[in-house]
Structures are given as structure tokens and as C-alpha cells.
Symmetry: C2
């Protein structure tokens, strides 16, 4: 019921396998529109179904896009004179940013011309504009940013949220993160019954702050109707592990865990390069092991997991790393494409509505099989 | 003045280069007394100044110690019939644990027979007993656990605290962590003017929770008198970086960051082993690069940084990983030895007293040069 009502408001892939439209903010990233257009070309090449609405400086974009044969006839360029800088304050952008490519990119999702938006720009500004223009889903108190985390699980990644949309989260927010994260896991990682864990400083039930115990009870009670398995408290070491698929935490903790993990992986990678550069023998060994080392690099390459997704809004927005190159932008676009095509937004809205109904005591659990 | 008064209460290395006594809880670890005694032998072998008071099952310890020639005449075995299990609740151990090896190990520090205690046991119980028996330093609200973190800095490690003594910390607690952490950096890492940073979700001054801004102001104001350099907010990615030596955070966030970092390093290590096991060519390459790979492994080996130190008590307690092997136990003992020998405990007490005086508006800054 909720699902049907919502599906009218979001563009979906036509049943005949037609195109999926992604709205792209081409101006926000550290590397400018060249990297963004290169990333668009990379994903267009891999995916015949994809089309773009591209926002930014028209003359520049026209020139860059004309150079890419694979993009011919697949881009709708929309001129936006303003650019959101990395240093701009979110509140200022929300007040004065209506002429920017970021604003326009979100607008294409709001008007349902595009199935999802992608931006490499300023995270705070992108969240502020997304909340301002798309508005929160009914019943969502704090939207969240979800990221993918390399893991030992068969799917290769775990999902963690919130990684920085909001610096705090109460127990009911954490419950919503569990519902939204498991919906994302079903649609983004094809997991039928995602395993959800709540990040804490120990796995025993008595551990952690009072709001953690309350959240633990709320999430456990919602698991069956929410179509996920709740594994209870998990620790930092479980983020890359195989015991859980979705890790729920507040945005302060999640952001610090994300950056600690990235920093540690980078340090180990640097130490490895130094180790192999150490002697002629080890340089020769590195040459021999080239294929293996490249495979390793690919497995831990942060560009492959590029794309934080904003959850809890009326529309899908994917935040790419500011420093993303063509490969990174392409990964973020692929994620946006996959979510737009699967009708994720409608399913998420239905899932959140159901969660609210359950919290409010209304029995809609009998319908749970129909929503993913 | 404070320094002189305090120095009477703590055993120090005699001026003639005599022995330093470490109190060891031999029973608590996952691997039992065999690994602990092996670790004692390893550090005794490297360090002629070290002597031990060893707590646990007398018959078992006597047998194990007699097998190690290097330990002959250097161990004082004290029988303790009780063992604290990893699953024991801290509150129970505090009530009923007086016959345990952990309790006795702390007692040797309290009575000033030993300069520091080392245990591989249950962290929560060890902290509870340490607080109960050693008591908090005057003016310390929440003690902290500080850990070493592999980094790009010349000293090879950064210090992070609190990593799990308490799940919360107010702004004045974070100030004390800054004072205690920089004192540890001076005595444990030989840094004259440690750089201190406060862990947050961004480096801009407006970022983070309200208590972070207050702590930011407090720590900045205390830097000169506290003999450290304050670099302001740092992010998760700075933990293994070279911009800061001491990272201050609450125990909830610190514990999750620590375990996330450990888990990520472990994952990358596993991926690396899998990459090299992939083909005959890469196996051959691994053989050639053996020396380099071993050097790398040593650099990221968590056993080398084994030893969380409890700060803010009347005595030095080092917590070793529960799963520590001989190398890990030896690293923890080395840390305890270094701190006991440097008279760290007195200096820390003086530093905290000074911080309290500064907070209270008393001017003791003229003496700051004398305390490290």
C-alpha cells in the first residue's frame, strides 16, 4: 500500500530495460569537471542503460563531453554558474546557493527527472541542500550517511551508518538506521536477510551508555518485522569482519571509525611499499608479485568503495569523495545507478513507514514479506 | 615541591643503577602462566636491571620459572589461589577477589614493593581493582587507559587515550587526559614537547559536540603551563599520522577507534598473505622478499605495541592483551620497566597537581620547567 503510493513519485527503470537517469554535480570535486566527466564516460562505457543530467559550467562541460564518444547523445547539460567550494559553510550554501551546480543536481531528483544524484562536493553543504530541497522522509528524525567497508563477507563489503550526517543519535534514530541500513543492504548488496549489529565497546549486554541498551532493545524488537537478523552489540574489530553486514552507530563515532580505518589501511599500504623498495632483491620480488600486489591493491582500494549514500530523504543522493578520480566517480555513479534501478527509494520509504507503524503499535507486520 | 613529596611514596631505581621491580599477575591471560613466564624470561634476558614479584599458583610458577635460567634469583613468587576469569564481572571481582593473583599484583604496587604492575587479565576487573586499591590521583575524576598506535612519526608510535577506562568524558576530563598523555609521551616516548590533538569529526573550530568546543578551549589554555603543544582538533586519519603525538578522546570513541584500526590492519595483512599465496610466481616472490615482508610485519605487529597503561591512579598498571604471547608480554613488561625507571608516576602526579592548580587559578606556571 505504502509502496504503491510512493512508486508514483520516483522515476523507475521502465520494464523494457530502458534508461536510468543519474543527475551529476560536475563542479564540486577537488579535481574539477574533467575527472567527473571521465568517470561518467567510464560508467557509460560499462553500462548501456545509463543516461545523465549534468550540472555545471555549460561551455566547459560541452567541451569535455564532446571529447567522449561514449557520452554522445546520453547527456543533458544544464548550465549552473555557481560552484560550492569545499570551504563554504553549509548554512551559507543553503541560503545563497540556488545558482550552484550542487543545488541543481539535487533539484533534478526532487522533480523526479533523475533517479539519483551524485556529487563530489562539500559533504556538509550537500547534506544541508539535500535536507532543504528533498526533505526528510515522514517519521525520520535524523538522516544518515551510509558507507561501504571492505570486509571478509562474501559480498566483499559491509555497510556502516551513520558516518557523519549528524554528530549524535538517540535510540529511536539508531533503530531507524538499522531499518534503513538493512534496506540498503538488500537493494545495494543483494542480501536477503542482512545481519545488523550495534557498535559498542563490548558485546556483553551490560556494556556501553544507557542509550545503547535502549537501542539494543528497540532494534531487537524490530528485527522480525524489519526483515533483518539482529546480532546484538558488535565491536570496532567487527567492521571488516564476517559476523555482521550492517553496523549501526552515531555519526560522531562512525565518522571517526571510518577515517581511522582509512588511515590505517593507507599506513599499512605505505609501509608495504617502503618494504618492497628496500633492497634490489625485494624490488625484483615486487616485480614478480606484480599481479598479486595489484589484486591486493584493488581489494583495499578506497576508490572502489567510493560513495556515501544519504538515507532518510525523499530521494537518493550519493556523495563521492572530494578527491575522487575517474575510477572513483565511476564507482559512485554505479552505486547511484544500481539503487535507482532497483527502486530502492520507494522500498526504503515503505520500510521506514512500516518501522514507524511498528513503533506506534500498528500491526503491519503481515505485509513485511512484500517490502524489501 | 609536589614532586619531592610524591617521590617518597614510589620505589625508584637506585642511583647506582640497581634493579627495578615489576609486579606480574601470571594467571590472567588467555594463554596462562606459561606465556607470561616466557615473556618475563624474554625481558629479563634483554634487561639485567629487571626483577619480578610474580603472583599466582606457587607450585606451577615455581616449576615454570625453574626452567628459565635467566630468571634464577630474580623472581619472588607469591602464592595466590584465586584467578580472575575473562568473563568475571568487575563489580564481583572488586567484592570477592582479594585472593586473586590480579589483586595481589596491584597490592605490590600499592605497598611500593614494585614500581609497576603488569597483567594480561580482564581489563574491566583490572581497572576496578586498580581504582579500588590504588585510588585515583587527587583531582582526577576519570582515570584513562592510554595505548600506543603505530605511526609515521620518528618515534614510531602515537599515544591515544582514553581507549576504554570510562565510556564518557567531560571537557575537564579531556583536559586531564591531555596533561596525563603528554606526561606519558615525555617519559615513555622521550618527546620533549609533545603535540596534543583532540579527536573530532573535523578540524574546523565549529565542528563537533558542545563539550568538544569547551575541551578545545580548556586544553589550548593549559598548553604552555602543561609543557605541550596543542594542535587543536584532529581526525581519525591523524591517528597513524605525523601531525600529532598524543590523541585525546573519550573512552567510547577511543575504544572503537582502537579496535577498528587493529581490525583493519589485520584484514589488510590477511589480504596480503592471500595475494602472495595466489600463484607459484607470487609465492617465489614472497620468498625473495622475505626480509622485507618480515620487516613490514614487525612494523605493524600489534604485539610490539602491547600494553595499555592506566593513567590517573596512585601507581602504574600496564594492561597487556589477553591473548599476548611471550613477545607481547615482554613488550608490556618493557613498557612497565621504562616507566618505573623514569620515575613516571611521580612526574605524572606532579603534572596533574599542577593542572588542578592552573584550573583553580593558582599560579604554579613558573615551576613548569621542573616537571616532566
Amino acid at each position: 500500500m505504502t509502496s504503491d503510493a510512493a512508486s508514483n513519485s520516483t522515476p523507475r527503470a521502465p520494464a523494457d530495460g530502458g534508461s536510468v537517469v543519474i543527475s551529476v554535480d560536475a563542479m564540486g570535486g577537488d579535481r574539477g569537471p574533467t575527472a567527473v566527466v571521465a568517470g561518467m564516460a567510464e560508467s557509460a562505457d560499462k553500462n548501456p542503460e545509463i543516461r545523465f543530467i549534468v550540472h555545471g559550467d555549460e561551455a566547459q562541460l560541452d567541451r569535455l563531453i564532446k571529447r567522449r564518444k561514449v557520452l554522445a547523445g546520453r547527456c543533458d547539460i544544464r548550465h549552473a554558474p555557481g560552484v560550492v567550494a569545499m570551504t563554504d559553510k553549509p548554512s551559507q550554501v543553503a541560503r545563497k546557493g540556488a545558482d550552484t551546480s550542487m543545488w541543481a543536481a539535487i533539484e533534478s531528483v526532487r522533480t523526479a527527472e533523475a533517479g539519483a544524484a551524485v556529487s563530489c562536493g562539500n559533504t556538509g553543504a550537500l547534506m544541508a541542500l539535500s535536507m532543504l530541497r528533498l526533505r526528510k522522509l515522514p517519521g525520520v528524525n535524523r538522516p544518515a550517511i551510509a558507507c561501504l567497508w571492505p570486509s571478509r563477507n562474501p559480498q566483499g563489503f559491509n555497510i556502516m551508518l551513520d558516518v557523519g550526517a549528524d554528530i549524535r543519535a538517540d535510540a529511536p534514530d539508531l533503530l531507524q538506521y538499522a531499518l534503513m541500513g538493512s534496506s540498503y543492504a538488500r537493494n545495494g548488496l543483494d542480501l536477503e536477510l542482512p545481519r545488523v549489529g550495534l557498535l559498542n565497546v563490548g558485546t556483553e549486554e551490560h556494556k556501553g551508555r544507557a542509550e545503547m541498551k535502549l537501542a539494543n532493545d528497540l532494534i531487537a524488537a524490530a528485527a522480525e518485522a524489519g526483515n533483518f537478523q539482529y546480532v546484538g552489540f558488535v565491536e570496532g574489530g567487527d567492521l571488516p569482519g564476517s559476523q555482521v553486514d550492517v553496523i549501526v552507530t552515531d555519526g560522531f563515532t562512525g565518522n571517526i571509525a571510518l577515517k581511522t580505518g582509512e588511515g590505517t589501511a593507507k599506513l599499512v599500504g605505505e609501509f608495504m611499499r617502503e618494504a618492497f623498495a628496500n633492497s634490489i632483491m625485494s624490488k625484483f620480488a615486487a616485480l614478480l608479485a606484480m599481479t598479486s600486489l595489484k589484486r591486493l591493491q584493488k581489494r583495499i582500494d578506497p576508490r572502489r568503495v567510493n560513495g556515501g549514500i544519504f538515507l532518510g530523504l525523499n530521494g537518493t543522493v550519493v556523495k563521492s569523495h572530494g578527491s575522487a578520480d575517474a575510477t572513483g566517480v565511476s564507482a559512485a555513479i554505479k552505486l547511484a545507478f544500481q539503487l535507482a534501478k532497483s527502486g530502492f527509494q520507494d522500498r526504503l520509504a515503505a520500510r521506514v513507514a512500516q518501522g514507524n507503524a511498528v513503533s506506534a503499535g500498528t500491526d503491519v507486520a503481515t505485509e513485511s514479506g512484500a517490502i524489501s
